[in-house]
């Protein structure tokens, strides 16, 4: 690998926790790992939770504290979704890695317990077949290996595998802790950023700290040393601007209040085309529209339920690769009818057909 230039590292990597105690928020996992540092006892572990909550960081930091760099490669094997993970390959690789005996050499300041660690990152992307095979491998080498399974969705790890591990849920970081972490980073970098800005930044990142750090760095670069403004933040987050979202609601309202004879679906149609032309991701529109519509007063419960069911269906269609424009127009079609006929129960229910 090319020599890494530390000053060139993006902040996400630069400020990845190097020690367990630097890990923010995930107390349970941190506690276990910390105990293990002193006791040398470690079960197989399963970390699950949304992206950017510290799963990979926790596992890596732990290994770095356990083993000195000299023997790190002998003791830690990291396999992730980018590696070949067919059944055979997994077994071969793990076998080869696990076979070598564990030297009893001790190093000052490192516990060096007598086992090897295998980190399976993005474990939910391993095929069920390969997972089954893995289960046997896990048993076979249980004396000298410990597994870390990291994944987003615990349900996608087969039960026999999951039940062999101590499970830890990594939760989305609360706003304030994220802000604190960002504050720590800007202080280290010697940059002036107001709390408001950090607040705004985290609020558009859905609890994903990686995304927050990423966004902060981009915003800082774009600001060229001057103050980071809301406008800059808007251009670097993945969110659709709020005025775009509120435009949908206000247009629907306008149309349904204009009287029955002037149905103007074409206005919504044009709006859909415009959104697509502007490159707004429909998945994001759905997500934000959902947030925006839940608290409003001008829709009744039935209306809201119908809309939410539609959103769920649409999201599924998008994930399966449906055309974004058609899905968006379909959503607008439903919104149009829902806004127009708030009390037509039969029809509203019919709208949720699949």
């Amino acid at each position: 690998m090319a020599p890494s230039l530390p000053e060139e590292l993006p902040w996400v990597e630069k400020y990845r926790p190097n020690k367990i105690k630097d890990l923010v928020y995930q107390q349970e996992a941190a506690q276990l790992l910390h105990n293990c540092l002193t006791s040398g006892n470690l079960p197989h572990c399963l970390f699950y939770g949304p992206p950017g909550t510290g799963k990979t960081s926790a596992a890596l930091a732990f290994c770095k504290e356990l083993f000195p760099p000299e023997i790190y490669k002998d003791r830690v094997l990291e396999l992730n979704a980018s590696d070949e993970r067919g059944i055979k390959v997994v077994r071969e690789k793990i076998k080869r890695f696990a076979q070598g005996s564990v030297s009893s050499a001790q190093f000052e300041g490192f516990p060096c317990p007598p086992f090897k660690i295998i980190i399976l990152d993005e474990a939910d992307a391993i095929t069920p077949d390969a997972q089954t095979a893995l289960r046997r491998t896990m048993e076979q080498f249980s004396k000298i290996t410990r597994f870390f399974l990291l994944c987003n969705y615990v349900t996608r790890v087969i039960d026999p595998l999951a039940s062999r591990c101590a499970k830890f849920r990594f939760r989305s970081l609360p706003m304030q802790l994220q802000v604190d972490r960002l504050r720590y980073i800007v202080d280290q970098e010697g940059i002036m950023v107001s709390d408001d800005i950090l607040q705004t930044l985290t609020s558009c990142c859905n609890g994903d700290l990686r995304r927050a750090i990423m966004t902060l760095e981009s915003a800082y670069c774009l600001a060229r040393g001057s103050n980071i403004t809301d406008e800059i933040i808007n251009s670097v987050t993945w969110r659709v601007p709020d005025h775009v979202i509120s435009q949908i609601d206000s247009n629907c309202l306008k149309i349904c209040s204009s009287g029955e004879n002037t149905l103007q679906f074409s206005e919504l149609r044009n709006m859909a085309i415009e959104f697509i032309n502007n490159g707004y991701p429909v998945s994001e529109i759905i997500y934000q529209l959902c947030e925006a519509l839940i608290p409003v007063n001008h829709l009744n419960k039935l209306q809201k339920s119908v809309i939410m069911i539609k959103f769920a269906q649409a999201e599924k269609m998008l994930i399966d690769g449906s055309d974004e424009l058609l899905v968006l127009m379909d959503i607008f079609g439903v919104l149009f009818q829902v806004y127009n006929e708030p009390d037509n129960v039969e029809k509203l229910i019919w709208l949720t057909r699949n």
Binding site: W238, Q264, N278, P281, V282, D320, L326, M329, D330, G333
Partner: protein, 401 residues
Amino acid sequence: MKSSQYVHFFFSNEPLFFLEDLMTRQGGLLWVDKYRPKTLETLDIHPEWTEKLASLCEQGTLPHLLFYGPSGVGKRTRIYALLRQVFGIAIEKRQVEHRFLKVGEPPKEVELTTITSAHHIELCPADVGYNDRLVIQEIVKEIASSKPIELGNVHRGYKVVVLHDIDEVSKQAQQALRRTMEKYTSCCRIIMSAESVTRVMEPIRSRCLGIRIPCPKKEEIEQVLQKIAKKEGLVLPDCYANQLVTQSKGNLRKAILLLQVGRAIAYPFSQQQQKKNEEEEESWISSQETGWDWERLCYDIANIVIREQNPKQLCNIRNKLYELFCHAIPGDMIFRKITLHLLRMMDEEVAPQVCHWAAHYEYGMKRGSKEIFHLEAFLAKVMYIYYSHIHTQYSMAWMDD
């Protein structure tokens, strides 16, 4: 590279055969290539991003980037301009390579086309089908293991991998990119382009800076056209330029191609002002000889559905659909085009239903394998809905399923 983006421009249209013929005779280039701006400063549209991208380059650390927006808005051009800004003139010495790459265990050979310079490599992973994951890994590892080159005063600690149409690659390939993007950040940056970020998974999005490139404004397209016309020494009347802009629907590449086609078959351009409402304009454009063949077919199909709803016409439509498939037009483009025409022509009362069924059947098409079934089913459904609509006073068509 990606079918939906290029096929209809390069293979399926007589005007373009004509154009290619013309090019070979004159030894010329397509104007879209000839007048592609090379540096950030010379980019004509989206000035707001130009400045921001320039400041990104000034910093030592370029993040991973994902450019997204509709087809033909200049994502690729912008990526080149950015690379040019970062690495200087060396980036322009590009080499197109046709290679056979050995990937996986057991190794298999995969054929792909890459474009390389001293500082970057670019490819379209979706081209290699289900091997996309392995190819991406192989390429990134290859780049990561070769040291970045120092050239003159340009010193960057990294090389760049450009992955086009990342939304078209498999889920596995995207999964695989996640950790790779983190692991190799010290020596390589990944720049991606996508038409639909919805299909780019969340963990990838959260690892890069997203750059949304919207369709250029009408005036912007017109300016670009005028600029090219001037360089080519053409007289481009405003009204003609206007038509091209309307016809291009925000797709800058298409506008420029149309201008070049127009130059070949309709020069000098007509000065006549042809002001019409949207509906007329649409049909007028569809009947123009400079228009794309496949668009005219879609228009015809929509027209048939509106005029007459019976099995005979359905057969008629089937022939036209086959013709479209012969032109290798992707099903989702046909779906989109026909739906938009239908919505424009129909009564507003039935529009929401048409939208529903369009999305419904297109979804079926994406999951099924025979595109024509789903298109036909959709059109039959619309015929039925429309028929009931015009033949019952109190339309209860929404009740039928």
